[in-house]
């Protein structure tokens, strides 16, 4: 499985990256929406994108809407990862095209639980994914 972590905070990308790599997920990072779009426009097709809400220039909801315009990403799941936990905000993100919602702060178990809900975990459960050597 391949994940794209989009967050303007390097420390938060590091935390999410370590959690994902610990369960055998291949991880790429983007520092903002423009960086994420540049990577997918260059051919990256992640299985899941984890997207922060509050980012400069383009916020996470705007990025989600942009990603949902790209047919090649039709099968990519999107998880918002944010402090915005109000039901109205969650509704806005889901309406834009997010599939799941993870509220900061989170635990590693919560990340795995959300991936499970998305059908992305355990690895190999999703028929488009192949288990990686050493994956748990």
């Amino acid at each position: 499985m391949h994940a794209l972590v989009v967050d303007d905070s390097r420390s938060m990308r590091s935390i999410l990256g370590r959690i994902l790599k610990s369960i055998g997920v291949e991880v790429d990072e983007a520092a903002d929406g423009a960086d994420a779009l540049a990577q997918v426009d260059a051919g990256m097709v992640p299985d899941v994108a984890l997207v922060d809400w509050h980012m400069p220039a383009m916020n996470g909801v705007e990025l989600v809407a942009e990603l949902r315009q790209r047919p090649e990403l039709e099968h990519m799941s999107i998880m918002m990862v944010t402090t915005e936990g109000e039901p109205e905000q969650i509704g806005v993100a889901l309406e834009a095209g997010a599939n799941e919602y993870l509220i900061k702060p989170f635990t590693a178990d919560a990340v795995v639980q959300k991936l499970t809900l998305l059908g992305k975990w355990p690895l190999g459960h999703d028929t488009t994914d192949q288990p990686k050597a050493g994956a748990q």
């Binding site: 303007d8 905070s9 390097r10 420390s11 938060m12 590091s14 935390i15 370590r18 509050h54 980012m55 400069p56 944010t82 402090t83 915005e84 936990g85 109000e86 109205e88 900061k104 702060p105 989170f106 635990t107």
Partner: protein
């Protein structure tokens, strides 16, 4: 409106953030009395039904130790930008969760990080409404809430 944040709520949210992001075994211990000087401050602004700022104040050593936990790296291996990034993300998460206690609408700014103590970084007209002090790894940490004076009395 007169909505503000109780010290219990500030303490609970700060502890929750620390346990999840830094280390569940690294307990924050509340402290009383005169606060030691904190040298680095992260700040987010909230606007809406309540308008003001949430600040996290750190000693340089505490900030570096927190960043080390977040980056999974040795504290001495981090550069100043990485330390500032970690401080900004911590105040973003604490401030964002405090914002969740407010009635909507409420917007959260992007975090900023600056040199200095959180009780002195307030600019413009603002009222210091809460200061909660902790010790973490024998280093000072504080959560300071400023309320914009423009909102006073509404």
């Amino acid at each position: 409106m007169t909505t503000t944040f109780t010290e219990d709520a500030i303490s609970e949210i700060t502890r929750m953030v620390w346990a999840a992001i830094i280390d569940p075994s690294d307990e924050l211990v509340e402290r009383a009395g005169e606060a030691p000087r904190r040298e680095l401050t992260g700040m987010v602004e909230i606007s809406g039904t309540w308008t003001g700022s949430v600040c996290l104040g750190f000693s340089r050593r505490a900030a570096r130790q927190a960043a080390a936990a977040m980056f999974g790296a040795d504290a001495d291996a981090l550069d100043d930008d990485e330390v500032a990034d970690a401080v900004g993300e911590l105040v973003n998460v604490v401030g964002g969760n405090l914002k969740g206690l407010l009635p909507p609408p409420a917007q959260l700014s992007l975090p900023s990080v600056r040199e200095g103590d959180p009780t002195t970084v307030g600019t413009g007209r603002a009222e210091l409404v809460s200061e909660l002090q902790f010790d973490w790894c024998d280093e000072p940490l504080s959560v300071v809430i400023w309320r914009a004076d423009d909102a006073a009395g509404d």
